[in-house]
Symmetry: C2
Subunit: 342 residues, 2 copies
DNA sequence: CGGGGGCGTGAGAACGCTCTCACGGCCGTG
DNA sequence: CACGGCCGTGAGAGCGTTCTCACGCCCCCG
């Protein structure tokens, strides 16, 4: 049935022990840097390890230690387009860099639909990983509960819906969005539209809330016809902007809840013959690489990724060590980056 | 030392067996869908599994089966920018989709430098995965040898340098590039420049070779001042185009070895006051999403991703099953997509 | 009615590692 | 010189599975 004939038989701890003339226990101690080993024994073991090109079998080790020294970064997002979203890429890079200095491994998992979520849940529950960082949480996402219930240490990247007792790290989406819209109002704009993110994602909801908050603060009305929902993609942003222009040709500013969408918004504005920023001022969100290469360069809200990714891993590691309470969370401050579009 | 106090003790096969009133072996048979189980026993086991919320311990299973039912997709690329490259995203999506129908898990690993490559190598050799798909192979990449030597089934996404006996799947980069340049020559262009990919990556080398081949076929000279090396990024493409314009202001066409670079090329051309395609015709490579949203829409070479990703997984699975020889490879045909830029 | 051949089942040995425990040997102290 | 303590070591018991055997059972055939 199982065909393992093609795989060479790897040397075991036992083989090393025999070659080094010591017991398995001593070899194990050397492998795990235990101090209680004589220099001679250590030397003998190390040369035996080198000679046999021994590599410890992680499965066997995990079976007894109940640790895998692996953590998972789960991207939970049906729209695969989002996979190339620069924000996601930055998080991956940051977490990966933070972990590079440790002896922890990082694996990325994607879950696009219910079935894949179940698969990821199983993967985690079966003990493949010591903990999970979960990104892009939609409102009806079953994964947090699945993992929390299985006792798998978990940190969300992004505030969860409701008041779940779950650790998370998030940017101050609401505050950042409010700053963006306040900036537009400060420029004297009065008909400020918005392209929101998906409203089943908390980042979409919070940024929209911040926008409305700033409108109120500036004494401007909440006009539903100046709100269009996007999906964090270029195409979605373009579509949303076309809708807005059709509904209210006189709008003089737009707060766009992500930079890729803002790129689409700029395209739609150009196609409609509007000048940016003269006719319509635009502010984005994320400060992604695309913000610098679009035309005109995009004024946007920068997320403090440099703070967020280390926090993410730190909180998770503390949970894994059993040091932290389960619901320790952080919100990181954003800031406005002024370029030409507003 | 080891603090596992926070993790609840999970139910074992034994516990299920006791509750169901059968032996461990029978429970195991039910879990693994063995046909040799009576309906009553199966029923008893399944309800016990449900009651205890039993999940098999994958480590224990792997220890004996020597399989993990997990394959790794390794992105081996120092430039993390490339992580958001649409081509990479498409491969991930495709492989992930192909595997969704199986009970195999997919993990993504990134290796940015020598140290991380070693880490990935260790991860694979320690038995965490049954096989590896390796992307973005640079000329001096140690990972293929590391894995091959350890006997880990391996398929490269992209032809390897030299004549290594390693399985791979690749697009016909050379043929595609030749078609692109031939198309430009066919439009009557005579001073055809190129922005290449990194020349330590085989895709960069092959596309450049195809370009030169088509120049020869069209009776055009190989002029070194019409060649600039890019790095597959927007910024790199923009820089390269600026160099080309400085060296040869009269050029009338450019073959760009990737769409993101072509986006940068279009920016540089616009900044220099050149009209596309009237003054300078541009052809890209990849048919990424960006090709449709840039201005003007990009004529480009489409890679047959729909063919490549299933092949990639198929070849790997065959190796894992022990069916395939180690060096079974495929090259997939590309095709020209005509839009406005050429 | 007796013997052979499935079929469902259970006992028990792996798999490769860690970790507890007990045991000699050496030191320092009384 | 006798005794307690520490240090390096090894024997052996798990960790939670799978898998090989061997064993009854029932059915079918002669």
């Amino acid at each position: 049935m199982t065909d393992t004939s093609t795989r060479p038989l790897l040397p075991t701890l036992d083989a090393v022990a025999v070659l080094a003339g010591v017991s398995r226990a001593t070899v194990s101690r050397v492998i795990n840097d235990s101090p209680r080993v004589s220099p001679e024994a250590r030397e003998a073991v190390l040369s035996a390890v080198a000679e046999l090109r021994y590599v410890p079998n992680r499965m066997a080790r995990s079976l007894v230690t109940r640790r895998t020294d692996t953590i998972a970064l789960v991207l939970n997002e049906p729209n695969t387009q989002v996979f190339s979203d620069p924000f996601f890429a930055s998080i991956v890079r940051g977490v990966s860099a933070t972990l590079a200095d440790t002896d922890l491994n990082l694996v990325l998992l994607t879950a696009r639909d219910e079935r894949e979520q179940q698969k990821v849940g199983r993967y985690a529950r079966q003990g493949h990983v010591d903990g999970v960082i979960l990104m892009s949480v939609h409102s009806e996402d079953p994964l947090p509960d699945l993992l929390a219930e299985a006792g798998v240490p978990l940190v969300l990247c992004g505030r969860p819906f409701g008041d779940r007792p779950v650790a998370f790290v998030d940017a101050d989406n609401r505050g950042g969005a409010a700053e963006a819209t306040a900036h537009l109002a400060g420029l004297g704009r009065r008909r400020i539209a918005t392209v929101t993110g998906p409203l089943d994602m908390i980042a979409g909801v919070d940024r929209h809330a911040g926008h409305l908050e700033a409108l109120t603060a500036a004494g401007l009305p909440h006009r539903p016809e100046l709100v269009a929902e996007g999906d964090f993609t270029v195409a979605g942003g373009e579509r949303a902007m076309e809708q807005l222009l059709a509904r209210e040709p006189d709008l003089d500013a737009v707060f766009v809840a992500s930079d890729p969408m803002a790129f689409g918004v700029l395209r739609a504005l150009r196609a409609a013959g509007r000048r940016v920023p003269e006719d319509v001022a635009v502010v984005g969100f994320d400060d992604a690489a695309v913000a610098q290469v679009c035309d005109p360069p995009l004024t946007t809200i920068a997320q403090p990724l440099a703070d967020m990714t280390p926090l993410l891993t730190e909180l998770l590691l503390r949970q894994i060590e059993g040091v932290a309470g389960p619901a320790e969370s952080r919100v990181c401050r954003t800031h406005l980056v002024r370029r030409a579009s507003a």
